[in-house]
């Protein structure tokens, strides 16, 4: 009952006006046999104080990146979020507005989205950006649909094995009911080989999808992968980490057709996987096949510059089953946060964040690889994330490291059995040298703990004391 404004008097007056006696009468035109004749079986109501205590207490049972030092990545990163992002995006006028259907009453949101689109173009070098999609993976799926529609090819979509496994799953889910098949080009040495890619692409291929930096952190030969797609008339879709674009060559310089990415790293919190921010930008000529909302510049009746939702004839509320996509909202708030983030960081701040992440990741990688029994799994260049290979059980190792206060990395066996001896480690600009040194010590200690635990058994067996030593 927390937020109902009508008083009992109001209730009476209003019911009287519509000729009813009780609140239940409001539903008397619903068939009796459909109506629920018991209260819902849900927990009892809590006051604000109780809710704060109860839910706050449940949340306190989590032990996240605030409590353990976070080296987890895999598409979601613990980058620094400046205070200004929370303060401004939290303003009720942004937070509690909806899709800007009435432009005269929504210029704040519309201009912010127009600026977001511009910032994404500046970052990627592409000509047009939409107003955002749900997350990186669904943006990749939307790009794939675009490519199928633009090329009119229904044979297959080719995806690099180094694309995030969950993204590949999403592409597969959406293709399952449709004609094209999803073909995976295997990785060699942590990247995909452009010749293998070229061999997989044929003249019924709609798109080549690759990620750069890839899921394992490595840098792909993006220009060669794009060339492999274009050689057979397929479109090239590049999945980017927008943070990397402070340092790395923009996707436009690879000649790519559609760019997608996960914008969580731009001022958005980890929040257990969502809501996140799907980025999608492309060549100008494809704009009418773009999914999602797009804001455009125009003038009002007095010639004054202003902004509106543009190109709505692509969309589901007008085109229905012929629409470019079923999407009807963007991730407005997350796009706003990304814009505020980029505005306050500027070109130098973004460069520093990207470069610090790279330098710290390399420092961590060389320090960890120096521990006996650990090595870098792949030889190539990487951005802020890398893979360590170990003879020890990664899950046990990471559990031990966690007990020492570090979210030490992701055991890759959960995604790929052939990487069961590998750990993916991400380092952002937030990590200090002290924290990285601490992680290295934690790995060393975990390593000796795990070896010590297995070693006595060997010794016991060797000396024939197993039965004596057993508890």
């Amino acid at each position: 009952m927390a937020y109902i404004a009508n008083t009992p008097d109001d209730e009476r007056i209003m019911l009287e006006r519509i000729g009813l006696e009780t609140l239940d009468d409001l539903f008397r035109h619903l068939p009796e046999e459909l109506r629920l004749n018991r209260p819902l079986d849900v927990p009892a109501a809590l006051s604000e104080l109780e809710l704060t205590q109860v839910v706050g207490g449940i949340l306190a049972r989590n032990h996240g990146a605030d409590q353990g030092v976070c080296f987890l990545g895999g598409g979601a990163y613990d980058h620094f979020v400046p205070a200004i992002v929370d303060q401004l995006a939290g303003r009720g006028e942004f937070f509690t507005a909806y899709t800007p259907y009435q432009p005269e009453a929504s210029q704040g949101t519309l201009q912010a989205v127009f600026e977001y689109q511009t910032l994404i173009c500046q970052l990627t070098g592409m000509e047009v950006s939409n107003s955002s999609l749900y997350d990186g993976a669904s943006a990749a799926a939307e790009a794939m649909f675009m490519a199928i529609s633009l090329t009119g090819r229904h044979g297959k979509v080719v995806v690099a094995e180094t694309v995030h496994p969950e993204y590949r799953q999403v592409l597969g889910t959406f293709l399952e009911s449709l004609e094209p098949v999803l073909e995976v080009v295997p990785a060699t040495g942590g990247v995909v080989d452009a010749r293998s890619m070229a061999a997989a692409v044929d003249d019924r291929t709609a798109a080549v999808v690759f990620q750069h930096p890839n899921f394992l952190g490595g840098l792909e030969d993006a220009r060669a992968l794009v060339a492999a797609a274009h050689a057979k008339g397929a479109l090239a879709i590049e999945i980017v980490d927008p943070m990397s674009l402070g340092l790395l060559a923009p996707p436009s310089s690879h000649g790519v057709d559609i760019v997608v990415g996960e914008g969580q790293c731009l001022g958005n919190p980890l929040c257990y996987g969502g809501p996140y921010l799907g980025i999608l930008a492309c060549r100008g000529e494809y704009v009418r096949k773009m999914p999602g909302r797009i804001v455009g510049e125009t003038v009002d009746r007095d010639g004054k510059r202003c902004w509106v939702l543009a190109l709505q004839t692509r969309e589901q509320h007008i085109r229905r089953e012929k629409a470019t996509s079923n999407i009807c909202t963007n991730q407005g708030l997350l796009a706003l946060r990304a814009s505020i983030y980029l505005a306050v960081m500027g070109p130098r701040g973004l460069r520093l964040a990207a470069e610090s992440s790279t330098r710290k990741a390399h420092y961590a990688a060389s320090s960890l690889a120096a521990i006996p029994g650990f090595e870098l799994a792949f030889p190539g260049a990487f951005f802020k994330e890398f893979v360590i290979r170990t003879a020890l059980d990664p899950n046990e190792l990471l559990a031990n490291v966690l007990r020492q206060g570090y979210h030490g990395g992701i055991a890759l066996g959960r995604f790929d059995p052939s990487l069961a001896d590998c750990i993916l480690i991400a380092v952002t600009e937030k990590r200090t040298r002290e924290e990285i040194d601490g992680l290295v010590r934690a790995f060393e200690r975990a390593s000796s703990d795990l070896q010590a635990r297995t070693a006595p058994t060997h010794r016991a067996k060797a000396t024939g004391l197993a039965s004596v030593a057993a508890p």
Binding site: H29, F94, A97, P103, A112, Y272, R301
Partner: protein, 484 residues
């Protein structure tokens, strides 16, 4: 009195060399960058982002925000969007590190609090739906629709049944046919009858062994509860089809009728509507789906499960699952707010939401329907659709003009020109969190506008920082980013 002004674009305020110190210098031993990243992989020039001071950015966005109408500042009766109050208590909880600082790949032992909440939410959403199993994964209502249709497609495929059609009423949201198309089905339109309900004869005529799913919105987009739903479900089930509910209008029936009891087999929720997630200027939402037992094996993975010992875990071992529709768990931040909202209401509170949402809509309708006729009349649910067609005919005043004029009176416009089955539609949803005074004041405004001269309405709004934008120009010569 200060004036609302449009700030210049961020890019126009940029000055070379301006900036804000946010990050410290890098503290690990320096190595030449080219040793780390090959030179040909590096940017040659920095991205041309704007250069601004922190105060520039603060003023910019603060001024921009004042150009918006929002629930916090205005009555916002945008039909179909359920623009109810977004409780501040949920925001404070949602800002706690126990939510915000949780990485999706953390060890499950470090996530027991959050997984408990998500598990409970699955159970609660199943109970409210009267269905058996829930996936919290879909990122928005439209993605929930698509996910549910993929679940249906997989269900039929595993039965060796190759049905090709999804039936959709002409009053449905545009997302329904778009989702049907994306999931590989053909969308077949079912007419509405003279009452604004499903035309049962047309439904029967189009129902066949090719019918996979009938997508129903009930209450429908005209704000009417379709009492034929059980009969429709029975006819559909007899032919082996599934009944889908677009849950956009769940606010009207919380604790009153359960979709499962209507014969619904699968549905999506819009927790940002029904359970009051802030709409954020167009998102984020979430689109959890609920299904009957026999469809549960096909839900996306993972699902939150509980071991015998009470420990929560993510169940990825779902061999019949359609797979994933997005990365990571779901829009946890939106789902968390829905959980807080439901916990604040309890069983009686949830039912009172429906009662007062319906009371407010019927009361408001009674105050205005003499002047703004409601073509499909009768008791409405949480919203009603009035028509401005008599104004259009008599005075040349269209729904658009009324919507624009409302802004001058400091209220947001209703949804207009939807549903498509009502000409000059004004779709009005007051929600339960508005008071009688607000409704009465809105009714007075609507009646006052009805008496205004057409020229005033055609030129409205008069008080906003901009007048009506030229949408044709925006479509014909699209300018979608700052051109410098």
């Amino acid at each position: 009195m200060y004036k609302l002004v449009q700030p210049p674009l961020l890019f126009e305020s940029s000055r070379a060399g301006r900036g804000t110190a946010v990050l410290p210098p890098c503290d690990v031993p320096d190595r030449p960058l080219d040793e780390l990243i090959p030179a040909d992989q590096q940017r040659l020039t920095p991205p041309p982002l704007p250069e601004l001071g922190e105060l520039d950015v603060v003023r910019h966005y603060t001024n921009l925000s004042t150009l918006n109408m929002s629930i916090d500042s205005n009555f916002y009766p945008l039909g179909s969007c359920t623009m109810k109050y977004n409780p501040k208590r949920n925001e404070r909880l949602a800002a706690l590190p126990g939510l915000l600082a949780q990485h999706p790949y953390q060890d499950e032992s470090t996530l027991q609090g959050l997984l408990a909440i998500l598990y409970d939410l699955q159970e609660i959403l199943a109970e409210i739906a009267g269905l058996d199993a829930v996936s919290l994964q879909p990122a928005a209502g439209a993605q929930g629709e698509l996910t549910a249709l993929l679940v249906a497609a997989r269900y039929f495929r595993e039965k060796g049944d190759s049905r090709s059609q999804v039936l959709i009423p002409d009053s449905a949201h545009g997302t329904n046919p778009a989702s049907a198309h994306l999931s590989g089905f053909d969308a077949v339109t079912i007419k509405s009858d003279g009452r604004g309900l499903v035309d049962l004869e047309d439904f029967k005529a189009k129902l066949s062994d090719q019918t996979a799913v009938f997508m129903m919105t009930n209450p429908n987009t005209a704000g009417l509860f379709d009492p034929q739903v059980r009969e429709i479900a029975d006819l559909l089930h007899a032919r082996g089809g599934l009944l889908y509910l677009d849950g956009a209008n769940m606010n009207a029936i919380l604790g009153v009728v359960r979709p499962g009891d209507m014969g619904v087999d699968l549905m999506h929720y819009n927790p940002h509507k029904t359970f009051s997630g802030p709409h954020g200027g167009g998102g984020p939402g979430a689109g959890p789906i609920a299904v009957r037992d026999r469809l549960a094996p096909f839900l996306p993975a993972p699902i939150v499960a509980r071991k015998a010992g009470g420990e929560y875990y993510l169940d990825h071992d779902r061999p019949h699952s359609i797979g994933r529709v997005r990365s990571f768990f779901g829009n946890t931040g939106v789902l968390f707010r829905a959980y807080c909202y439901i916990r604040s209401q309890g069983p009686q509170g949830l039912k009172r939401i429906a009662q007062h949402a319906v009371l407010n809509a019927n009361y408001l309708k009674a105050l205005v329907d003499d002047v703004y006729p409601v073509p499909y009349d009768g008791p409405c649910m949480h919203e009603f659709v009035a028509s401005a067609r008599t104004f259009a005919k008599d005075k040349g005043v269209r729904a658009m003009d009324i919507a624009k004029r409302l802004i001058d009176y400091n209220v947001h416009a209703p949804t207009i020109y939807f549903p498509l089955i009502v000409s000059e539609a004004l779709m009005i949803e007051p929600t339960e969190t508005e008071s009688r005074e607000t409704l009465e004041s809105f009714a007075e405004i609507l009646l006052a506008i009805a008496a205004e001269d057409p020229e005033t309405l055609h030129r409205a709004p008069h008080t906003t920082p901009i007048s009506r934008p030229d949408e044709v120009k925006a479509a014909k010569q699209p300018v979608l980013s700052w051109q410098g």
